[in-house]
Amino acid sequence: MDRARENRRLSRRLAVVAVGMFGFGFALVPFYNQICAALGINSLQQPDVVNTQVDRSRTVTIEFDSNAHDLPWRFKPLVRHLEVHPGELATVEYEVVNVRQAPVTGQAVPSYGPQYAGEYFKKIDCFCFTQQTLAAGETRRMPVTFVVDPKLPGSIKSIALSYTFFEVAGRGGSS
């Protein structure tokens, strides 16, 4: 009967809407993060992933290192080292210059020395979270905001943070 088919069609469409809305609920998760980031709402937010107590009884030396792996970029930290207390929020900047006469996209990958110290190094804001595209000849300063977890073993007195930029394949011009 025609009506039965009409009914089935409509019910299928409604079922698709229901399933779609279920997906929408999950889509709200990245939406929320994007909207907060775009509106800068999380500026007050200081993710308290670690104990909020600043451990003033000791300092840790963070050394900053940079590598541009086969990328035509000059890449350096503006500060070579910094003394911080575990639990204390700090921000440093790195500077990147694209010497190629064409746009280049790169992705920074962090590494730590000693390696296991990475577990205690919490990056709140970092250019390493996203790909960076620099126009021809562009210079850019990029911040890293971090906090060292007070749970850091006392035996670690210094952590080296190193970034290596890799070119993202398929983007940018030819050399």
Binding site: E6, L14, V17, A18, F22, F24, G25, I41, D48
Partner: protein
Amino acid sequence: MSAVVHDHDDAHGHAHGHGDHHGGYSGLMRWITTTNHKDIGTMYLWFSFVMFSVGGLMAVVIRLELFSPGLQIVNPDFFNQMTTMHGLIMVFGAIMPVFVGFANWLIPMQIGAPDMAFARLNNWSFWLLPFAATLLILSFFMPGGAPGVGWTMYAPLTVQQGIGMDLTIFAVHILGMSSILGSINIITTILNMRAPGMTLMKMPLFCWTWLITAYLLVATMPVLAGAVTMTLTDRHFGTTFFNAAGGGDPVLYQHIFWFFGHPEVYIIALPGFGVISQVIPAFSRKPLFGYASMVYATSAIAILSFIVWAHHMYTVGMPVTGQLFFMYATTLIAVPTGVKVFNWVTTMWKGSLTFEAPMLFALGFLFMFTLGGFTGLVLALVPIDIQLHDTYYVVAHFHYVMVAGALFAAFAGIYFWLPKWTGNMYNETLAKVHFWLTLIFFNMIFFVQHFLGLAGMPRRIPDYPLMFETWNKISSLGAFGMGLTQLLFLYIVVNCIRGGVGKAPQLPWEGADSLEWTHLPTPAPYHSFETQPVIK
């Protein structure tokens, strides 16, 4: 509106009740296997009454504990379980299913259709409910008991709960599934199965309100499912949706929940509006004023309901622009809601009014739903909400709109349609007593709670500082009275089913003019409109 063709069954109009009419089954099997919209409507109504009673008992426990300051009868943990399950059971087990019961009974009859579009799906949609309700009740018997998180189930408190929380999450999934399937059925029925000549703008407003409500359900119940699923995985599968340590955010839960939660309150209210829109014209002997406006206003309310959710979250720390946006959008909903109230009053104006029980409940609804709407306007204003959020003022507000609003509308509808359903007249005197006692006790419970909230009493606490004692006592006494009064209601309904005060006339309500009244005998036959009428 006049019909031309009567179908074969109508001419006989026998009251059903004989086993051989009902698909061959009798007794329990009839009810388990029925695909008849009238049977299923009846089951929804009885189920919701049972759930009202269970939820009501929990309310009595709550009000018993709150009768005096100090902890007398329950420990705080169990008290939290009571408030949580009272809310979940009343919202999902009582007030939503009662209106689905109305939908099942009335929509096919009012549009001249023989049954719902998917009769067997209809049966499944119902039987999911007792199963889900069992899960909810079962959670009390798990180690740790039922969850004590409020019906809103905020994270990360939900992550701390015992296994009762998981049972509740499954129950919510099943309740949601039932609603979604039922809504698909309702939308398809209304859009595809109307009798020829029954255009959308001719159909009773009750059907319009259910059409719109069903769309709201299809759009928002899945979002609730998402929220509780994320809670489940945060609890057991290592996700961190709502855990800052993993990059998540507890406030995210609140956004997702209230994206569902706000339309949910309109899902509860709109079918009640539909019932009132049938009852008031009938007892004014005058057509509903501004039918088209009522359709547009209801649609506007439904659409606006999607953009106001964060007014439940003014204190989470959202930026000023957010607060302002949601405040403006929320106050905007007052406009179409006001239009509806004005239209109902104007329907009465210069009518020829009588005040049988359905009309009394409809007037009670009008008066007190509007009062609740006004306290909602007060809460919509951010600075005032800062003082009233999470206090008893909010509890008073939503009980006014949901109990004095939706529940009164349900009572109005039950008295209105009992003759059509049973073929008998209920005892009008007792029904009036039921109305007045319910009205008085309801206000005793909840009017004074506005004062408690203004004075600073928070929600969801089992014990309170001494300055709140007086109103709490009055509120508790009202609760005991209200609970007892509903036993009278049960008596009236059962008595009516069994014969009441006599057979109902074909048209007990002079001003009623929808198809079930004009084209079907009283009581309505088991199968109606097997041949659809043609509407002029």
